[in-house]
């Protein structure tokens, strides 16, 4: 799981162009200034590319925080 978070950190830092970002299971869009609906789409795409997974519509709609995202990734890998 630690490895997933480490890779997620890399993706978040690239997408938001901010090297200071560190995410944990409780991180939500409220915690990152530029995480708006437009960047959310880029983020989902970048996470999918990083882990070689595809989220279903239901999963994308239902994700409440980074922890839920990481759990889905873990199930798929």
């Amino acid at each position: 799981m630690d490895e997933i978070y480490e890779r997620l950190n890399g993706v978040f830092r690239d997408v938001f162009d901010d090297e200071s970002i560190t995410v944990n299971e409780d991180t939500t869009a409220d915690d990152i200034e530029d995480w708006d609906s437009l960047n959310h789409i880029t983020l989902i795409d970048a996470v999918e590319s990083e882990f070689g997974v595809r989220f279903t519509m239901g999963e994308v709609s239902g994700m409440k925080n980074v922890g839920e995202m990481a759990n889905i990734i873990k199930e798929r890998m």
Partner: protein
């Protein structure tokens, strides 16, 4: 930043922010343009990506986007769009925007009526945009529908959606053929090339109202950016080709001509033949072919004379086959052709050579595996065609004639004698419907001999052409070796008894031929006929036009202003004026 293509789409999607930041801070000067994007689906992410790709092409865009899916209303009535005064309009519609498809119960006549309605929805909008905005319109065609009610029959039966979309696209192309300044962005081909199923993945539509799948935004933006780049004169002009393992398999100096892989007998030879055919076809677009090979010249020529080869030695404008560094040969090739090195695409199978030449800021597409050569060059889009003129067809021939002139030059005792020997004749006249396309094309791609580097869209040029307020000249130069075509354009705006010269450019292939003086003589004559007493000229420096920094001084103008950036203003009183041309017969 050479070699954007081929790129890693996922990497670009992820790092788009830092890539944009790096491009914006690289210190390069960019053309600034205003682009209105009118979407039938979400456009934000696509516009972000388009911005990035345009930056790469040297274009800094300011964008206007309509409210979600309001493309038609905005095009027809939007006040904000009109205030924005775009240089380009891009209409991002897809087959998601087809409001009605045929029903099985419909007759042929009913379907034809439906098609007419769908097409008119667009043509009315295009007409309105052209009338109100006078700027180029770029329009997506329709990608194939995501599902087919009739299966295979869907393409052939008039009830089928595939059939309907195909016919609608045909209507788009008819409009494009009949109207200048209207360009199709071929998403039908793009989606086929990328895979329609993934391209139209409904998840992105249902989640975000994106009609194009998000992972394909870089491919989409690249495809679209090529049209802008071409319209703004960013196309390449030359393919500089290596020989061994690039145009044939094997090394001609070691293996001998008879042992090269080239010809229909073996698979490898076939592949090289196909590639040679592809390269030869580029000549039809006016792309210049040159050789840049480490070889003894006689071996190079022997290889090019291979009986099963498609390319012949005389297909090449310049042949550099020697043992000098390729970077040097590329520089000399550019010099001999009077072109900038960056207008060359370097084609070589050897990554080490590519790295050295690439360091000069030249595109060096990765030629890895003969089976990929055509794809790599073709998708790179270095020679994207937007407007095609008769002069393009003749360009290769003209550069050849230039080489013959250069050979003749060395046998004269002075330069004037050489110019007389050329028996030059110039036709310098106002623009006409016949030459307007060429004038516009030349205007938008001339960089070096260009005093103001002012660009005109075809619609803007049309306005200048129809206005009484301008004196316009375009000059054609012929000589004993052939017709150079239209090589110089001047536009001056009449301001009382002053003529303000807003555009003065000339093709570099007629440098040092006295043609600029011929243009000046005729300009002065026309100006005096219209009561002008003074000419005002401007020079605006760019990284490419330093050769004409002193042109107005050479013309006898007096400098009246200069600002901190080197922009200068010049004046010439034309009463009296003595003609300057002595080696060209002007008609």
């Amino acid at each position: 930043m050479a070699n954007f293509y081929p790129f890693d789409s996922a990497e670009i999607m992820k790092k788009q922010r830092s890539l944009k930041r790096a491009l914006l801070s690289d210190g390069s000067k960019r053309i600034e343009k205003k682009i209105a994007v009118l979407g039938g689906s979400t456009t934000n992410g696509i516009v972000d990506m388009l911005e990035l790709f345009l930056l790469y092409y040297g274009i800094k865009a300011e964008f206007y986007q309509c409210e979600y899916a309001q493309y038609w209303q905005d095009a027809m009535f939007g006040a904000e769009l009109r205030e924005f005064q775009p240089d380009f309009v891009f209409i991002h519609t897809t087959s998601r925007n087809i409001s009605a498809f045929p029903e099985m119960s419909m007759s042929k006549e009913e379907v034809d009526g439906l098609l007419k309605n769908q097409l008119e929805h667009f043509t009315v909008m295009w007409d309105k945009l052209r009338e109100d905005l006078s700027c180029p319109v770029i329009q997506n065609n329709m990608e194939m529908p995501y599902w087919r009610l009739l299966g295979n029959k869907d393409c052939a039966d008039f009830h089928g959606r595939v059939n309907f979309v195909t016919r609608l696209n045909g209507g788009f192309y008819d409009y494009a053929a009949a109207h200048s300044d209207f360009y199709i962005h071929d998403i039908n081909y793009l989606s086929a090339s990328l895979g329609l199923e993934k391209f139209s993945d409904p998840l992105y539509w249902n989640m975000y109202k994106y009609a194009v799948a998000v992972p394909f935004f870089p491919d989409f933006a690249f495809s679209l950016a090529k049209i802008f780049a071409s319209l703004l004169g960013k196309n390449k002009k030359v393919l500089a080709l290596d020989l061994d393992n690039t145009l044939w398999g094997g090394v001609v100096g070691d293996d001998g001509v008879e042992n090269l892989a080239l010809g229909q007998e073996v698979p490898l030879g076939q592949a090289y033949c196909e590639f040679q055919s592809y390269i030869k076809a580029q000549k039809q677009l006016g792309v210049l072919l040159t050789v840049c090979s480490k070889n003894d010249r006689e071996n190079a020529i022997a290889g090019l004379e291979h009986p099963d080869g498609v390319l012949r030695p005389d297909d090449f404008t310049v042949i550099k086959a020697n043992w000098d560094p390729k970077s040097l040969n590329i520089q000399q090739t550019a010099k001999e052709l009077d072109l900038l090195p960056e207008s060359i695409v370097f084609v070589d199978d050897n990554p080490a050579e590519r790295a050295i030449v690439g360091d000069m800021g030249i595109e060096t597409p990765p030629m890895d595996g003969i089976e990929n050569y055509i794809k790599t060059l073709d998708k790179g889009g270095y020679f994207e065609v937007t407007n095609f003129s008769a002069d393009d067809l003749r360009r290769v021939e003209m550069y050849k004639q230039n080489a013959e002139r250069a050979a003749a030059q060395s046998s004269f005792k002075d330069y004037g004698e050489y110019l007389d020997f050329l028996e030059m004749k110039a036709v310098i006249e106002d623009f006409s419907p016949i030459n307007l396309a060429r004038v516009t094309q030349l205007t938008n791609k001339s960089n070096q001999f260009n005093l103001t580097t002012k660009r005109y869209s075809p619609a803007e040029m049309e306005k200048v052409y129809k206005s009484e307020n301008y004196i316009r000249l375009c000059g054609r130069l012929t000589d004993k070796y052939g017709d150079n075509g239209i090589v110089s354009v001047v536009i001056g705006e009449k301001q009382g008894d002053v003529l303000d010269i807003q555009l003065w450019l000339m093709s570099c292939r007629v440098l040092k031929r006295e043609m600029e003086f011929a243009m000046l003589d005729v300009l002065v004559q026309k100006a005096r006929e219209q009561g002008i007493t003074k000419l005002v000229g401007h020079y605006y420096p760019t990284p490419k036009n330093s050769m004409v920094k002193d042109l107005y001084m050479d013309f006898g103008f007096t400098k009246t202003e200069e600002d901190g950036e080197g922009n200068t203003r010049w004046e010439l009183s034309i009463d009296p004026y003595e003609n300057r041309t002595s080696h060209i017969e002007i008609n």
